[in-house]
C-alpha cells in the first residue's frame, strides 16, 4: 500500500515541478535555441566587420597599386637608356606614406631606377644590385603573362634591410616594384580596426603575419599557418571560428582580400563578443531562478495555507468526535471551503441533536429496565412460593401414590387369597361332603351292628368307604396342587429375585393362579407360549405384569359385555431375533377410546373412578416393563375391536437398582 502523503507535500511537489519545468524549459530554450542564435549573431557581426575591413584593406592597397601602374605605364613607353626615373620615384615615395621604396628592375632583374625615402643615404649602393634571387621576382616571372599586379609575401628588403611586402607590375621587360613596410600596414590595420577589442591581422599566403596592430609583433614574422582557420583553401570565402589566439579565446573571421593572396583575420575576444549574449543569459538565468524561487515560495505558502485550513477542519471534526461542539467556526473566502465548513457545521449540529435524543431515550430505557428487574424479582419470588407449594403437594401426592400402590398390591393379594380360597373350597367342600356321608354311613353301620351285621350291609359299607376314599384322595390332591401353585406365585410376588426360569412355566403358573377369578367374569385364557424360552430376570414382576394385563382385559374388555361368544384372552410369546422376547396379551373386548389411549399408562388414570379402580394398574405395568425389565410396551386398540398390549423385553434383563422403586 502506498504510504499516505500530506496535502502540503503534494501541493509543494506540484508547484516545484511546475517551477522546475519552467526553469528547465527556459534553460533548454536558452541553450538550444537562443544561444546558437546569439552565437550565430556574434559570428555574423564579426563576419560583417571582417568583410568591411577586408574591403578597406583592398581600397588601401588599391591606391599604391594605381600609382605603381602609372609608373609602369611610364616605364613601358620609355627605353632603358632614357634619363633616370629615380627622381620621379623619389617624389612618389616621399608623397606617399605607403611605399618605403619603389624601384624598376631591368630584364636582368637589376635595379635600374630607385626611389627611396630621403632618410636613406648612400642610395647609389643599391643601384644595379641583382635581385634575381628575390622570391618576388620569381612570383612576377610566374605571373608574367597576366599583366596583373603581383603581391609578394613578407620578405627582407635588400634596399631597406627591413621586412616588407611588395607589389610588382610588369612593364615590358622591366618590372616596377613598390615595397611597403610592414610598419605602414600595421599602422593601417591599427587605425581601421579602431573598435575596441577588435584586432585586424593580415597574413600572407604562407600564414605569416604581415600586418598586426602591434607593429613589433608584425615585424617578428610570426607564422600562424597552424591556425585551423588558415588551413582552408583560399577560395573558401568567409569563415568564422572560435579559437585560442595569443593566449585568449577569440571569435575569428577570415576574409579574403580580392586580387591578393592574403587573408584578413578579424578577431574579437570571445568574452567581449559574447558579452551581450552572456548578459542575456545571465539576466534570463536570474529571472528564471527568481521566478523559480518565487514559485517555490508561493507554492510553499499556498500549500501551507491549504494544509492549515484542512488541519483546522480536521481539528474541528475531532472535537466534534469527542463531543466538544465548537461555537466559533473557521472563516474562509474560498467557496469550496465555505461549503465544507458549512456542511461540517450542520453535521455537527445534527450529531449534537441526535445525541440528545439518544441520551433521553437511553434514560427511559434504563428506568424501564430497572422496573422490569423489580417485577421479575417479584414474579420469581411468587413462582418460588408456588413452586414450594407444588413441591409439597407433589410430595403428598407421591406419598399417596405409594400408599395406593401398596394398597393395590394388598388388594391384589386379597383377590388372590379369595381366589385361592374359592378354589380350595370345592375340593375341601367335596371332602367334607364325602367325610360327612362316610360318617353317616359309619353311624348307620354301627347301629346295624347291634342288630347284627349283615353281610350285605358290610359290603355296602366297604363299597361306600372305598368310593369315599377315592373321592377324598382326588379332592385333597387337587387342593394340594392348588396350594402348591399359590405358594409359588406368592413366593415370586413377594421375592423379586433374579433367577433363571422358563417363560412358559412362569406364565402357566400365573394363568393357573388367575384362572379361578376369571371364571367369575366368564373369561378364559388361551395360552400359546413356547416352552423353550429360557429367561434370565425377574419372574415375579413379569408375573404381576401379566396378572395386571389379564385382569385389565377381564375387567375393561369384557366387563358388562354380555356377548354370546366366549370371552377369550390370548397370550402369545415368541423369541425375537435380537434375543428379545415379544409378549402379546390381546382380547376381543370393547377396546379403548382413542382419547384414552395416550393417557393409558399415566398414573391414576382410570375410567372406573369410584368403582374400585385405582388407575395404577397399567402404570405399574409400564414402570416394571420399562424400568426393571428394560423393555418397552405399546398398545394397539380401537373401540369395539379389542385391545393388544405388545411387550418387548430382553431375554436377559438388565441389571437394575430400580427394583425397589418399581415395587
Amino acid at each position: 500500500m502506498v504510504a499516505p502523503v500530506t496535502l502540503q507535500r503534494i501541493l509543494f511537489a506540484r508547484f516545484s515541478l511546475l517551477a522546475l519545468s519552467f526553469l528547465v524549459g527556459m534553460m533548454s530554450v536558452m541553450f538550444f535555441w537562443l544561444m546558437p542564435r546569439l552565437q550565430d549573431l556574434v559570428a555574423r557581426s564579426n563576419e560583417s566587420l571582417a568583410t568591411a575591413l577586408s574591403v578597406q584593406a583592398e581600397t588601401y592597397l588599391a591606391t599604391p597599386q594605381r600609382a605603381l601602374a602609372v609608373v609602369a605605364q611610364h616605364t613601358w613607353s620609355r627605353e632603358n637608356n632614357s634619363p633616370s626615373l629615380s627622381p620621379l620615384l623619389e617624389a612618389l615615395v616621399a608623397s606617399n606614406d605607403v611605399f618605403e621604396a619603389i624601384y624598376v628592375l631591368d630584364h636582368r632583374k637589376r635595379i635600374v631606377h630607385l626611389g627611396l625615402p630621403a632618410s636613406v643615404k648612400n642610395r647609389d649602393d643599391y643601384l644595379n644590385i641583382d635581385l634575381s634571387g628575390s622570391p618576388l621576382v620569381a612570383d612576377v616571372r610566374r605571373e608574367k603573362n597576366t599583366n596583373q599586379p603581383v603581391w609578394s609575401n613578407v620578405f627582407l628588403s635588400a634596399v631597406t634591410g627591413r621586412l616588407v611586402v611588395a607589389v610588382a607590375l610588369s612593364a615590358g621587360a622591366n618590372t616596377v616594384v613598390g615595397e611597403i613596410g610592414l610598419a605602414n600596414l600595421s599602422e593601417f590595420v591599427r587605425r581601421v580596426a579602431s573598435r575596441e577589442n577588435t584586432t585586424m591581422i593580415i597574413v600572407d599566403s604562407r600564414g605569416q603575419i604581415l600586418a598586426h596592430p602591434d607593429v613589433g609583433l608584425a615585424s617578428q614574422q610570426l607564422n600562424v599557418s597552424d591556425l585551423p582557420l588558415l588551413k582552408y583553401s583560399k577560395d573558401s570565402g568567409l569563415r568564422t571560428e572560435v579559437m585560442p589566439f595569443e593566449g585568449i579565446d577569440v571569435v575569428a573571421t577570415r576574409a579574403p582580400i580580392a586580387g591578393i593572396d592574403w587573408v584578413v583575420l578579424v578577431t574579437q575576444p570571445l568574452s567581449v563578443a559574447r558579452e551581450p549574449m552572456v548578459t542575456t543569459v545571465i539576466v534570463l538565468t536570474i529571472v528564471g531562478l527568481l521566478v523559480t524561487v518565487l514559485s517555490l515560495w508561493q507554492g510553499m505558502v499556498f500549500a501551507r495555507r491549504f494544509a492549515l485550513v484542512f488541519e483546522k477542519l480536521v481539528g474541528t471534526a475531532e472535537s466534534v468526535e469527542i463531543g466538544r461542539y465548537p461555537t466559533v467556526w473557521l472563516r474562509s473566502r474560498v467557496v469550496e471551503f465555505v461549503r465544507l465548513i458549512e456542511s461540517l457545521r450542520r453535521m455537527s449540529h445534527a450529531v449534537k441533536e441526535r445525541e440528545g435524543a439518544l441520551a433521553s431515550s437511553q434514560n427511559e430505557l434504563r428506568e424501564l429496565n430497572q422496573s422490569l428487574e423489580q417485577r421479575v424479582t417479584e414474579r420469581t419470588a411468587q413462582l418460588e412460593l408456588a413452586n414450594a407449594e407444588l413441591q409439597a403437594i407433589l410430595e403428598q401426592l407421591s406419598q399417596a401414590q405409594e400408599e395406593l400402590q401398596r394398597a393395590d398390591r394388598l388388594g391384589a393379594l386379597g383377590a388372590l387369597v379369595a381366589g385361592v380360597a374359592h378354589e380350595l373350597n370345592t375340593p375341601i367342600g367335596n371332602c367334607l361332603v364325602v367325610a360327612t356321608a362316610c360318617g353317616a354311613k359309619q353311624l348307620a353301620f354301627e347301629e346295624s351292628m347291634e342288630h347284627g351285621v349283615t353281610r350285605s350291609s358290610l359290603n355296602t359299607l366297604i363299597e361306600g368307604n372305598r368310593t369315599a376314599m377315592e373321592l377324598l384322595e382326588l379332592n385333597l390332591q387337587r387342593a394340594a396342587e392348588l396350594i402348591s401353585s399359590f405358594k409359588q406365585v406368592a413366593v415370586d410376588q413377594t421375592t423379586s429375585q433374579r433367577r433363571q426360569y422358563f417363560l412358559h412355566d412362569s406364565m402357566h403358573e400365573i394363568v393357573v393362579t388367575v384362572s379361578p377369578s376369571l371364571k367369575v367374569s366368564g373369561c378364559h385364557v388361551v395360552f400359546e407360549v413356547s416352552d423353550k424360552i429360557r429367561m434370565d430376570g425377574y419372574p415375579g414382576p413379569l408375573g404381576q405384569v401379566l396378572t395386571n394385563l389379564i385382569n385389565n382385559a377381564a375387567i375393561h374388555g369384557y366387563a358388562g359385555l354380555k356377548s354370546l361368544k366366549p370371552a377369550e384372552i390370548s397370550i402369545h410369546a415368541q423369541l425375537l431375533e435380537n434375543d428379545w422376547v415379544e409378549l402379546v396379551v390381546s382380547d376381543d373386548g370393547a377396546g379403548i377410546e382413542p382419547e384414552h389411549i395416550k393417557r393409558i399408562f399415566d398414573p391414576f388414570f382410570t375410567t372406573r373412578m369410584g368403582r374400585g379402580g385405582t388407575g395404577l394398574g397399567l402404570n405399574i405395568v409400564y414402570n416394571i416393563v420399562t424400568d426393571l425389565l428394560g423393555g418397552n410396551i405399546r398398545v394397539e386398540s380401537a373401540p369395539g375391536k379389542g385391545t393388544r398390549f405388545i411387550l418387548q423385553i430382553p431375554r436377559i434383563a438388565p441389571l437394575s437398582d430400580t427394583l425397589d422403586r418399581a415395587l
Binding site: A13, D125, S134, N223
Partner: protein, 367 residues
C-alpha cells in the same frame, strides 16, 4: 527537491569548470625584427615547431609546453629586459639567443638566476670553457673559422685575404675573423685588409668595398649578416668580378641567396649543419618546417629546433627547472635532427662543419 536542484547547479559548475593543468613555460629570446631577423625568426620557428610537435604528443608529463617568445632587437638592453621578463614569468628554461653579442650580454644574468639557457646559433669562443648555465647546440667559431681558412688556403690556393666584420655582433664576428686570420696566417697566407662596419648605423657599402679591395685580395671573407653580406657582394661585383667571396656561418642564410642574386654566385660559405642531409630524421623535420612556415629552415631553424629538443628532452627526464642544468650535464648527449649532439663538460656542443658553395642560387656541397 532542493537537493536535486543543487545537484543540477553542481553539474553545470562541473561542466564549465574543467580545470587546466599549469603548462610548462619555456622562454625564447632572439632578434626577431630588423636585419638580424633572418637568424631569429627561423630559430624561433624551429623552437616553435619542436614545442608544437611535443604538445601534439601530449606535452611533458601531461603538461603542455608554452613558448614565451621575446624579441631582443639585437640590443643588449632590450635583451636584458626580455630575460628579466622571462624570469618573472617563471620559465623552466630559455632557448636563445641567436647571436653571440646578446649571449655575452645576458649570460651573467642567467647565471645569477640559475636559469638554464640553451643557445641556438651562438658560436663565440668567448663563452667557451665556462661551467655556467649557458649551453648551446652549436660549437664555437674557433673550429668553423679555422676550417674555412684552411680550406680557402689549401684547396683554392688563395694567399691574400681581406676580412669584413659587422661590429653589431662583435662577439661573433671578431672571434670568427680572428680565428680565420690566425689560421690563414699560420698557414702562410696574408690578411690584406680587416674592415669593420656597424650595420646598425650609417654605412656606405661602396666605402667598405673600396677599403676591402685596396689590398687586392684574392679572397674576401665576410663576417656579417646575410643582408649586409648580400649587399657587400653586390657592391663588390659592380667593380670586381673576379675576387673570390666567402661567408661565415652567420652570413650564409637563405636570405643571402635571395638578396645576393647573381652576385653571390660562387661564394664559399660555411654551414653549421648539413643542408643535404638525406637522413629520414632531417627530411621529416624539413618537410614539417616548410609545411608549417613556408620557408626553408636553414641552419638557424634546425638549430632552434635542436635547442628546443634538447631542453624538452631534459625536461622529460626531470621537469624541475632547478635541476635542469644537472640533468643536462648527466644526459650529456641527446638526439638532434642531424645526429647525436654531444655536450662537453662546459655545455658546448661538438659538431661538424660543412662547406658549401653557392651555385645558381643554390647551396651546393664542396669537398
Amino acid at each position: 527537491m532542493l537537493r536535486s536542484f543543487l545537484g543540477l547547479i553542481a553539474l553545470l559548475v562541473a561542466l564549465s569548470g574543467c580545470t587546466k593543468t599549469e603548462p610548462i613555460r619555456i622562454g625564447f629570446i632572439g632578434g626577431l625584427s630588423g636585419r638580424f631577423a633572418d637568424l631569429g625568426t627561423p630559430g624561433r620557428n624551429g623552437a616553435m615547431l619542436a614545442v608544437e610537435q611535443q604538445n601534439q604528443k601530449g606535452g611533458v608529463g601531461g603538461r603542455k609546453i608554452e613558448l614565451l617568445i621575446r624579441d631582443d632587437q639585437q640590443d643588449p638592453v632590450v635583451a636584458g629586459k626580455a630575460v628579466q621578463n622571462l624570469l618573472e614569468s617563471k620559465v623552466s628554461a630559455i632557448i636563445g639567443p641567436m647571436t653571440s653579442s646578446i649571449a655575452a650580454a645576458i649570460v651573467p644574468q642567467i647565471n645569477e638566476a640559475g636559469m638554464l639557457m640553451m643557445g641556438v646559433t651562438v658560436t663565440t669562443a668567448s663563452l667557451t670553457g665556462r661551467d655556467d648555465y649557458f649551453y648551446r647546440v652549436i660549437g664555437t667559431t674557433t673550429f668553423y673559422a679555422s676550417h674555412a681558412a684552411r680550406y680557402h688556403f689549401e684547396r683554392h690556393g688563395l694567399r691574400k685575404a681581406a676580412l669584413v666584420m659587422d661590429v653589431a655582433n662583435r662577439d661573433y664576428t671578431e672571434s670568427w675573423a680572428n680565428e680565420y686570420a690566425k689560421t690563414f696566417e699560420a698557414l702562410g697566407g696574408k690578411i690584406v685588409a680587416k674592415v669593420t662596419f656597424d650595420s646598425r648605423g650609417e654605412k656606405s657599402y661602396q666605402n667598405i668595398v673600396g677599403a676591402l679591395l685596396k689590398g687586392k685580395p684574392e679572397i674576401i671573407s665576410l663576417a656579417c649578416s646575410s643582408v649586409d653580406g648580400a649587399l657587400i657582394a653586390q657592391t663588390i661585383r659592380k667593380v670586381d668580378k673576379k675576387v673570390k667571396l666567402a661567408g661565415s656561418g652567420w652570413t650564409a642564410t637563405e636570405r643571402l641567396i635571395e638578396l645576393g642574386g647573381a652576385a653571390v654566385d660562387g661564394m664559399l660559405v660555411e654551414q653549421y649543419f648539413d643542408r643535404f642531409d638525406e637522413s629520414s630524421r632531417y627530411k621529416t623535420f624539413h618537410k614539417a618546417f616548410v609545411e608549417r612556415f613556408g620557408q626553408e629552415p636553414g641552419f638557424a631553424g634546425t638549430a632552434g629546433y635542436d635547442a628546443a629538443l634538447a631542453v624538452i628532452a631534459a625536461l622529460e627526464k626531470d621537469p624541475s627547472a632547478r635541476v635542469l642544468k644537472k640533468t643536462l650535464a648527466e644526459m650529456k648527449r641527446f638526439q638532434g635532427v642531424q645526429g647525436e649532439i654531444l655536450f662537453d663538460e662546459y655545455g658546448d656542443a661538438l659538431r661538424s662543419t660543412y662547406l658549401n658553395e653557392v651555385r645558381n642560387g643554390q647551396f651546393v656541397p664542396v669537398k
